[in-house]
């Protein structure tokens, strides 16, 4: 596809948000970055442009305008902040792809705060009923975006959603980030994916993987 897509990254100064922004800035897309601290967003933009002068990336002062302009919206904010953000952008997110990357971890990182019969992604879909919510990147650590190949193996990124075309578009995006997309199923599979992230975090802390670890499905 040669027509550029516009991707809004809301929460672009966090570990995940800035890592995703840097990674996707190498693709044929326009990025609009928003975060509460404008000066920090500008330094992320400067860093990207210094590394890649042809990158189309800019800081934008309003998440609603960013989402209005966007074809794809990435929620890179903590789970707790998703509700207010969803309310603000609901109207302009109509029919658009909204990527949920969050893991609803508790304070001690040993469990999820969502009920077992739901997930952060499904809760976001309830808040944005006319958007096409797709879960991905939640099992990817921020450092993996700079090093998507670990121990000679390309890290898998699972994709879950209810709209086939949206999952196809997101899978292409995952590929441009250097990761291997695996379509895992409908949005309810996010429950498993969010628990897989929890387990990976627990293992990383227990065995000191130094936050460079990922899931890889081995198959013949």
């Amino acid at each position: 596809m040669s027509t550029k897509q516009t991707i809004a990254i809301i929460g672009a100064t966090g570990n995940m948000g800035s890592a995703i922004a840097k990674s996707l800035s190498k693709s044929n897309n326009r990025l609009l970055l928003f975060a509460n601290h404008q000066d920090k967003v500008k330094s992320v933009v400067d860093e990207i442009i210094t590394g890649n002068p042809s990158a189309e990336v800019e800081a934008i002062a309003c998440p609603v305008n960013a989402s209005w302009e966007a074809d794809i919206i990435i929620f890179a904010v903590p789970f707790a902040a998703e509700k207010d953000l969803a309310k603000a952008i609901n109207e302009v997110a109509n029919q658009k792809i909204v990527i949920s990357i969050s893991n609803p971890l508790n304070e001690t990182y040993n469990g999820l705060i969502t009920a077992p019969d739901t997930s952060a992604a499904e809760e976001l879909q309830k808040l944005l009923p006319n958007a096409k919510v797709v879960k991905t990147f939640n099992t990817i650590f921020a450092a993996n975006f700079a090093s998507p190949v670990i121990d000679g193996k390309q890290v898998d990124a699972f994709v879950a959603g209810n709209d086939e075309a949206a999952m196809e578009t997101v899978s292409e995006l995952v590929k441009t980030a250097g990761l291997n997309p695996i379509v895992a199923g409908d949005l309810s599979v996010s429950r498993t994916l969010e628990n897989m992230a929890l387990l990976l975090i627990r293992l990383t802390m227990k065995y000191n993987y130094n936050w460079l670890a990922g899931w890889k499905v081995l198959h013949n």
């Binding site: 596809m1 027509t3 550029k4 109207e91 302009v92 109509n94 029919q95 006319n130």
Partner: protein
């Protein structure tokens, strides 16, 4: 966000408030900045677009890489590469923004679903398609039968205010004229006023 879209809809078919809310679920609001592309040749046209604010143009590139403008769309107009949209084949057209735009997009899946579940939408689309076909026919007959002056006047009637908003060389491209020929034509018309 959808004012022009529903005003146009209501001009043809009256919708109740509930129907407006229902249709809104299927629409994609989209801002496009000046010079950005909505569609590039070779991609599949995934959306039909209605201009709420701003101006778009559609053009093809010939084998020498020269642009030929096939259409403009101002507020209330519909734009898209129809055969690409319907047949899901690579588009011939490039569509870009001449001004900062606010658009309403209807995706293929939304379009099919609305046609299926809402008879008023189907009627509206039938009227739009019929109007578009008549306009096309008119353009073709104008092209063959009218003098340059008459064609220019017909163009101005079709796109009010366009002369103030679009550079002359683009209007010339749309009419298949060189900018110099258009400029001579315009000064001839002006001197007669």
């Amino acid at each position: 966000m959808y004012e022009v879209f529903f005003r146009k809809f209501n001009e043809k078919i009256q919708l109740t408030e509930e129907e407006v809310t229902f249709v809104k679920q299927y629409l994609t609001p989209k801002k496009l900045r000046k010079k950005q592309y909505l569609l590039q040749e070779g991609d599949i046209c995934r959306n039909i677009c209605i201009v709420e604010k701003g101006a778009l143009r559609a053009y093809i590139l010939d084998e020498h890489g020269e642009e030929h403008i096939t259409a403009f769309a101002l507020e209330g107009w519909t734009m898209g590469d129809l055969s690409s949209f319907i047949k899901e084949e690579p588009a011939m057209l490039n569509i870009d923004a001449l001004e900062d735009c606010e658009l309403v997009l209807i995706s293929k899946s939304a379009y099919i679903e609305l046609l299926k579940v809402m008879p008023k939408f189907e009627t509206y689309i039938r009227i739009l398609m019929t109007d578009a076909y008549m306009a096309l026919q008119k353009n073709m007959t104008n092209m063959i039968s009218l003098s340059l002056e008459e064609r220019y006047k017909a163009f101005i009637r079709m796109y009010p205010n366009i002369v103030q908003r679009v550079p002359q060389h683009m209007i010339a491209s749309h009419m298949g004229l060189s900018p110099e020929t258009l400029s001579r034509l315009r000064s001839r018309l002006n001197s007669r006023k």
